[in-house]
Amino acid sequence: AQSVTQPDIHITVSEGASLELRCNYSYGATPYLFWYVQSPGQGLQLLLKYFSGDTLVQGIKGFEAEFKRSQSSFNLRKPSVHWSDAAEYFCAVGAHGAGTALIFGKGTTLSVSS
């Protein structure tokens, strides 16, 4: 069965410092991989996605993620965090095929300290 694990429930990062949020997935083949951000009162917003090809993908708001097949990981990174990045981040996996929904991890809450 497909699953997504986000090992860190809560992370605090100083403003201007780098960030890495971890995501591990379980899937029988190469899945579609996504990172979403959820701010209070807002809907989930897609940051970036990986389908195939270059394993380093760039997203919005200066985020990037790297797909590592050998580690079944898709970690999210940002070189310099801004206070506005404080939010909840979800990694998700989608199966190849018609109509498949997304399977989400439990999320990582990011706090940014000044």
Binding site: V4, G43, F90, H96, G99, T100, L102
Partner: protein, 119 residues
């Protein structure tokens, strides 16, 4: 253009009551998904519509939950005999699926959700 909208934003009900939650997808999006997000959890899939038909309802927890999309646009999630364990944020998402097949390949756009509280 407008995004996905959901009404009401908050719903408080008593155990045993019936509730309806509404989702207005982005115009032209043929695929519509319902998810449920419990406190401290990620969204969990409930049901997927392609057009008017429910293409996958494998995530519905039991027969108290039902959803419709009669004209292929607006969808209503219906919960009968609500229980305290149904308390959660119910999220709706829509995507444009060229060819009508639907796929996780097509970006899902999420609404802000309806927070359901069952007392």
């Amino acid at each position: 253009g407008a995004g996905v909208s959901q009404t009401p934003s908050n719903k408080v009900t008593e155990k045993g009551k019936y509730v309806e939650l509404r989702c207005d997808p982005i115009s032209g999006h043929t695929a519509l998904y319902w998810y449920r997000q419990s406190l401290g959890q990620g969204p969990e899939f409930l049901i997927y519509f392609q057009g008017t038909g429910a293409a996958d309802d494998s995530g519905l927890p039991n027969d108290r939950f039902f959803a419709v999309r009669p004209e292929g646009s607006v969808s209503t999630l219906k919960i009968q005999r609500t229980e305290r364990g149904d308390s959660a944020v119910y999220l709706c998402a829509s995507s444009f699926s060229p060819g009508g097949g639907g796929s996780a390949y097509n970006e899902q756009f999420f609404g802000p959700g309806t927070r359901l509280t069952v007392l």
